[in-house]
C-alpha cells in the first residue's frame, strides 16, 4: 500500500507495515482544517484586514486596556493562590490517610466537570451580600460579589484542579528513602521539605501554575455572574469582546481577541521557558 522510495533521501514518513496512514491522516487533517484551522485563520485574516491605525486605536482604548489588566491580573492572582493551596491539598491527599480521602480526591476534579454557568451562579449566590459567605465577609468589611475580588474567587475555583493534578503524581513518586536520608543527616522536617523535596516539585508546580493561569485568562461563564461587569473596573476581556460583537463592531471584537491571544501566547512562552529552566535545574 505504501511505496518505499528507491533511494535514501528526504522521506515524509518512515515506512511501516501498519495500514491506514493515508486514511487517518487525511481525515484528521480535513477535520482539523474544517474545525480549527479555517475558523482561526478567519480570525487572523480579519485582524490583518484592520489597518494598523485602527488596530492600535482599539488596543490602546482605555476600556480595552483595563479589561486586559483585569483579566490577566485576576488570573495571575488566582493562579498564585492555587499554587499555594493546591500544593497543600496535593500534599495532604498524597501523604496523609483519613476517612473519605478517596471521595475528596475525586472531588478535586469538580471544576473540570461542572459547567461554568452553574459554577457562576452558585459562586455569586454564595458571595452575594446576603449569601452564606457574603454575610460573614461583610462583617469584616469585605465585599466579594460584583467586584474584582469575586473574579479572583471564581478563577480560584476554576483553576483548582490544575495545580493539584499536576503536582500529585510527582509527589506520589517521591522516594521515601531520600526523605529518610535527609533526616538521618540531621535535617529538620522543614529543611527536608524546602531543600530536598521542593526543588523536585518545582517543575510540576510551574506547569500547574501555567495551566491555571491560561485557563483563568480566558474564562467566561463562571466569571460574568459574579464579576459585576462594570467597565474599567470589573469587566473581563471576553465580556468586552461579546459586547463589541453585540454592537456589531466586528473589527473591535476581532482586534481585542487578537491582542488577547498575543499576550497569552507571550506569557505562556515565558512560563514555558521558566519550566524548561526549572526542569534542567531541578528535574
Amino acid at each position: 500500500m505504501t511505496t518505499v522510495p528507491a533511494q535514501a533521501g528526504w522521506r515524509f514518513r518512515k515506512p511501516s507495515v501498519i495500514p491506514g496512514f493515508g486514511l487517518t491522516l487525511g481525515l484528521s487533517l480535513a477535520y482539523l482544517t474544517l474545525i480549527i484551522l479555517i475558523p482561526l485563520s478567519g480570525l487572523a485574516w480579519r485582524s490583518a484586514a484592520l489597518g494598523w491605525a485602527d488596530f492600535w486605536a482599539i488596543a490602546t482604548d482605555p476600556r480595552t486596556v483595563n479589561s486586559l489588566k483585569i483579566s490577566f491580573g485576576t488570573a495571575l492572582i488566582a493562579a498564585i493562590v492555587n499554587v499555594i493551596f493546591g500544593t497543600i491539598v496535593a500534599w495532604v491527599l498524597v501523604r496523609y490517610q483519613f476517612p473519605g480521602r478517596r471521595i475528596i480526591d475525586a472531588m478535586v476534579d469538580l471544576p473540570f466537570a461542572l459547567p461554568t454557568a452553574v459554577a457562576g451562579i452558585a459562586l455569586t449566590t454564595l458571595y452575594a451580600p446576603n449569601g452564606w459567605l457574603g454575610v460573614p465577609l461583610s462583617w469584616l468589611g469585605i465585599k466579594v460579589a460584583y467586584t474584582p475580588l469575586g473574579i479572583i474567587v471564581a478563577l480560584v475555583f476554576i483553576g483548582l484542579p490544575f495545580v493539584v493534578r499536576t503536582v500529585q503524581p510527582i509527589m506520589e513518586e517521591i522516594d521515601q528513602e531520600v526523605e529518610e536520608a535527609a533526616a538521618t543527616l540531621g535535617a529538620s522536617r522543614f529543611q527536608t521539605i524546602t531543600r530536598v523535596l521542593a526543588p523536585g516539585l518545582t517543575p510540576a508546580i510551574l506547569t500547574g501554575f501555567a495551566l491555571a493561569f491560561a485557563r483563568g485568562v480566558g474564562e467566561y461563564g463562571s466569571v460574568i455572574f459574579i464579576a459585576g461587569n462594570l467597565p474599567n473596573v470589573s469587566e473581563i476581556t471576553p465580556l468586552l469582546i461579546i459586547i463589541r460583537l453585540e454592537e456589531f463592531n466586528y473589527p473591535a471584537a476581532t482586534a481585542i481577541a487578537a491582542i488577547m491571544l498575543l499576550i497569552s501566547f507571550a506569557m505562556l512562552l515565558v512560563v514555558n521557558l521558566l519550566q524548561t529552566w526549572s526542569r534542567k535545574r531541578y528535574g
Binding site: 529518610e180 536520608a181 538521618t184 543527616l185 540531621g186 535535617a187 529538620s188 530536598v196 526543588p199
Partner: protein, 348 residues
C-alpha cells in the same frame, strides 16, 4: 561508640518483625546482619537509626537511651540500598548536606564545609567529581558518594542497608574490599545488612545470623561457619547436607543401623545430622558408615558432586569428591563425615 540493643520487639500492625532481640555491638567493629528476606535484619537496622521505633525494648548508644532521641539527634550515618542521593544537588552539595543543615550555632562556615566535602571525596576516591550530578555517575560511584555523605556528619554509627545490592557482581566485589579499607582507616562503628553470606563472612568482624525476627547466632566468620549452633545457621552458612537420624546410646542410627558417629551428647530421640558435602571421607566396606545409591553425579568446576539416596528413604544428600576419584564411577558409595553436628528435633 558502642550500641546495645536490649530486648527489642517490633510489631507492624499485628505482624512481629522482631521478637525479643538483644545485641551488643562493640565500638569500632564492623558487624554484619545476615539473613534471608523476612529475617528482620533491615528492621533492626532501621530501629538503630531511629527510622522506626521499637514496640518494646530499648536501644542504647553508649550510655544514652537512644529512644529519647529523634532521628536528627542520633547522629547516625545511613547508607541506603538505592543510594537516596539528592538528585538536584551536585556531588559536593550532597556530601556537604549534613553539615549545611546543622542549626546555626553548630554549622561550620561554607568554606569549611567545602573543604570537608573534598576531603571525604578524596577518601572515597571520587575527587574531581564535585560538580557532577548523581544522574551522571555510575552505580558504584553513587554508592561511594552516599557513603561520603553519611560520613560527613561524623556519625556515632554507620549503618548500611544492603549497600551493594543494586550493583553488579564485579563492582560489588571491588566495593566490598574498599569498604573494609575505609573502615579500617576511619574506625567508625559500622553495621551493615546483607543477605549475601559471602559478603558478610568476608567483610565483617562479627556476623549476626538472623532468621524470622530472631538472632540465631552471633560470632566471627570462623565461628558461624565451623561451629554453627542451630540447624538454620548450619544450613544457611556455607553448604550443608542433612539427614534425619535417631539418637540412641549416644550413637546415631539411620534405619536401625549405626553409622558410627557419636551423638555429641544429644538426647535420645529424633534428630537431624548436618555435615558439609566436602568434609567427608569415603569408605570401602561399611560397618558404621552412611551408605547410599548414586542417584546423580555432576561435574561442578573443580569437583564432582554426587547425589546419594540413603537407605531408600528418598533422603538425598550431596557429597563432594575430587573430579577423578575412582569411587565416583561406582553405583553405591559409603562415606562418613569428618566433621558433623547433630541437632535434636524440636517438636513442631
Amino acid at each position: 561508640m558502642e550500641v546495645r540493643v536490649a530486648n527489642v520487639r517490633k510489631e507492624f500492625d499485628t505482624f512481629a518483625a522482631l521478637h525479643d532481640v538483644s545485641l551488643d555491638i562493640r565500638s569500632g567493629e564492623l558487624i554484619a546482619l545476615l539473613g534471608p528476606s523476612g529475617s528482620g535484619k533491615t528492621t533492626l537496622l532501621r530501629l538503630i537509626a531511629g527510622l522506626e521505633q521499637p514496640t518494646v525494648g530499648k536501644i542504647f548508644f553508649g550510655e544514652d537511651d537512644a529512644s529519647e532521641r529523634t532521628i536528627r539527634e542520633r547522629n547516625v550515618g545511613f547508607v541506603f540500598q538505592h543510594y537516596a542521593l539528592f538528585r538536584h544537588m551536585t556531588v559536593a552539595d550532597n556530601v556537604g548536606f549534613g553539615l549545611k543543615v546543622r542549626p546555626g550555632a553548630t554549622r561550620p562556615p561554607a568554606s569549611e564545609i567545602r573543604r570537608r566535602a573534598s576531603e571525604l571525596l578524596d577518601l572515597v576516591q571520587l575527587s574531581g567529581l564535585e560538580k557532577r550530578y548523581p544522574a551522571q555517575l555510575s552505580g558504584g560511584q553513587r554508592q561511594r558518594v552516599a557513603l561520603a555523605r553519611a560520613m560527613a556528619i561524623e556519625p556515632k554509627v554507620l549503618l548500611l542497608d544492603e549497600p551493594f545490592g543494586a550493583l553488579d557482581a564485579q563492582v560489588r566485589r571491588e566495593l566490598r574490599r574498599w569498604l573494609r579499607e575505609i573502615h579500617d582507616a576511619t574506625g567508625h562503628t559500622t553495621v551493615f545488612v546483607t543477605h549475601d553470606q559471602e559478603e558478610a563472612l568476608e567483610l565483617a568482624d562479627r556476623v549476626v545470623v538472623m532468621s524470622q525476627g530472631k538472632i540465631e547466632q552471633v560470632g566471627t566468620a570462623d565461628e558461624v561457619y565451623d561451629t554453627p549452633n542451630s540447624p538454620f545457621v548450619y544450613g544457611f552458612i556455607g553448604e550443608s547436607s542433612s539427614l534425619p537420624v535417631k539418637v540412641e546410646d549416644d550413637q546415631l542410627w539411620i534405619a536401625d543401623r549405626s553409622i558410627g558417629l557419636s551423638a555429641q551428647g544429644a538426647p535420645s530421640g529424633k534428630a537431624t545430622l548436618f555435615f558439609r558435602p566436602h568434609d567427608v571421607e569415603l569408605l570401602d566396606g561399611c560397618s558404621g558408615c552412611i551408605a547410599g545409591t548414586v542417584a546423580a553425579s555432576r561435574r561442578v568446576a573443580g569437583t564432582r558432586r554426587v547425589e546419594l539416596e540413603i537407605g531408600g528413604h528418598r533422603q538425598r544428600v550431596e557429597i563432594e569428591l575430587p573430579v577423578d576419584h575412582p569411587a565416583a564411577q561406582k553405583s553405591r558409595l559409603a562415606f562418613r563425615p569428618r566433621r558433623w553436628k547433630v541437632f535434636p528435633d524440636t517438636a513442631g
